[in-house]
């Protein structure tokens, strides 16, 4: 078998072709950055990759990455807790749902980025404002999916649980919670997207210790190598966090299929 036909056969697998596309794009970027584009704007990927140790050696960058990761984790945890509490409070009673869902939908629909300066004003320029802004993006999807999940429980299950003498807590524990789990994890995935967006927006807007400080610094110094390095590290962090939540969704959403 010749090399050409082996190559063609390998390309027939989508994932091989996908990697080939990525490699091709990286090669294009490399060529463009080396010969066409002014080096104060763009660096080739090889140099960005080689500079990753230098990025981590920059004074303050590891600490900034830790701060940003901490902000993301706290914001996500708070979003889940607040979203769960509001979602259950609103979702479990049909009257509360009819009364408050329109208000929640209205708030969810407003562009929160317009009030970003207010968050800075109220919570300061430190991590607190990033966490608060991340939570404001993160808890809405959880409220939505919890309310939808509670609403979709078949009434006959609730009726039969009560007919068999289940207490209010037992109904919650054995009927409502298990049925909520798939939508809860779907909400967690959306919440992670929202928290990433909120925290990073606030970081980029103003930052003293987090990652936004360094993106601004590298941009103003026309240092695209380290800027790209830092952005790739953050993108990798976002991908890993998204992937963890997605895996959890697949894992925990699997038990009932209908």
């Amino acid at each position: 078998m010749t090399a050409a036909s082996a190559w063609r056969r390998a390309l027939r697998r989508p994932w091989v072709a996908r990697i080939a596309v990525v490699v091709l794009l990286l090669a294009l970027w490399e060529v463009a950055a080396r010969w066409w584009v002014d080096p104060i704007f763009l660096s080739p990927p090889s140099r960005v990759f080689a500079s990753l140790p230098a990025v981590f050696d920059t004074r303050g960058v590891p600490a900034a990455l830790r701060v940003t990761f901490w902000e993301l984790a706290v914001a996500f945890a708070l979003s889940v807790v607040i979203g769960l509490a509001i979602g259950l409070a609103v979702g479990l009673k049909p009257f509360a749902r009819k009364s408050f869902m329109p208000i929640i939908l209205l708030l969810y629909g407003t562009p929160q980025v317009t009030i970003l300066p207010l968050f800075i004003l109220y919570f300061g320029i430190g991590p607190a404002s990033k966490i608060a802004f991340g939570v404001s993006h993160g808890f809405f999807p959880i409220v939505m999916t919890i309310v939808a999940g509670v609403q979709n429980i078949k009434p006959i299950l609730l009726t039969s649980a009560r007919a068999m003498g289940a207490s209010r807590w037992q109904t919650l524990r054995y009927v409502v919670f298990p049925h909520m789990i798939p939508s809860f994890f779907a909400g967690m995935r959306l919440a992670m997207t929202g928290v990433l967006l909120g925290v990073l927006l606030a970081e980029l807007y103003v930052s003293t210790a987090g990652i936004g400080y360094f993106t601004t610094l590298f941009t103003q110094n026309f240092d695209p190598t380290r800027l790209l390095g830092l952005i790739s590290v953050l993108a990798a962090m976002a991908i890993v966090l998204n992937e963890i939540v997605r895996r959890a969704e697949v894992h925990f959403g699997r038990w009932h299929t209908d």
Binding site: R18, S99, I103, P111, L116, Y205, T219, L234, A238, I239
Partner: protein, 256 residues
């Protein structure tokens, strides 16, 4: 009581709760600024905000910033929609290409693209160009993905049936593929429009020279709280109007 009467009563009650909630919110806000002496640097008086809001509308001082933001939005959406539909259509023409490219696009879409804003500012400067580029990038993905979903998953039976009845390529596109794909593409366009609007206002907030987001930040830095709240209300209203318009267009386009 008849069930419909009971239902109507329930709806009335929940409307009443909503109204009471909003009124209580405004009342608390008013009391906080008048009675409880919350600093006007943190929370301006609602009456002052309302007065500023009318002032902004009456003098028309918002026109310049509104024009900048809307121009950026129009340019970004035009780029995102044309590129997204063309790329999506080209990819959707073979199952192989869908399997290669769709996970790639979905993967990139799951990265928060706002991260690249510093790069865009580096490439395109602080002016409208960087906002247009960012809005176009962010709006591109939902449109391309939905175009792939629309054209790529048309029921095979319909295509085979049309072919066996002797439809030409153009006829197949016009009478089978397009009607099947259009609703999904329109949904993608609405999503793309919304995220483009958000990212443009967001990037104006972070780094810009003009535009509605810039105006809010400018007022915030000057600690002009009442005009700032008025502008926030104005931007929220503009965004709501735009979203309603786009949803109406989407519903209209979906009607057969």
């Amino acid at each position: 009581m008849t069930p419909s009467g009971k239902e109507r009563e329930g709806r009335l009650a929940s409307r009443a709760v909503q109204a009471a909630f909003l009124i209580a919110l405004v009342a608390l806000w008013y009391l906080a600024t008048t009675r409880w002496r919350v600093s006007p640097l943190l929370l301006p008086n609602p009456v002052a905000v309302l007065r500023n809001f009318w002032e902004i509308l009456r003098t028309g001082e918002f026109l310049g910033d509104l024009r900048v933001t809307l121009t950026e939005l129009a340019a970004a959406f035009a780029i995102a929609a044309s590129c997204g539909v063309v790329v999506g259509y080209v990819i959707s023409r073979s199952q192989y290409r869908i399997r290669v490219f769709e996970p790639l696009l979905a993967g990139i879409y799951s990265v928060p693209i706002i991260l690249f804003l510093p790069l865009y500012v580096l490439f395109f400067g602080l002016g409208p160009a960087s906002k247009i580029a960012l809005g176009a990038t962010i709006g591109f993905f939902p449109i391309a993905l939905n175009t792939i979903a629309g054209f790529g998953y048309v029921d095979k039976m319909l295509v085979v049936a049309a072919r066996s009845m002797g439809a030409s390529d153009v006829q197949l596109f016009r009478y089978v593929l397009l009607p099947a794909a259009l609703p999904i593409i329109l949904t993608g366009m609405r999503m793309g429009f919304t995220v483009a609007l958000l990212s443009i206002i967001g990037s104006e907030t972070i780094a810009s020279l003009a535009g509605l987001g810039h105006r809010i930040v400018h007022l915030a830095e000057a600690m002009e709280m009442a005009p700032m709240f008025a502008y926030i209300a104005f931007v929220v209203a503009i965004a709501a109007i735009l979203n309603v318009l786009v949803s109406m267009l989407e519903a209209r386009g979906k009607r057969p």
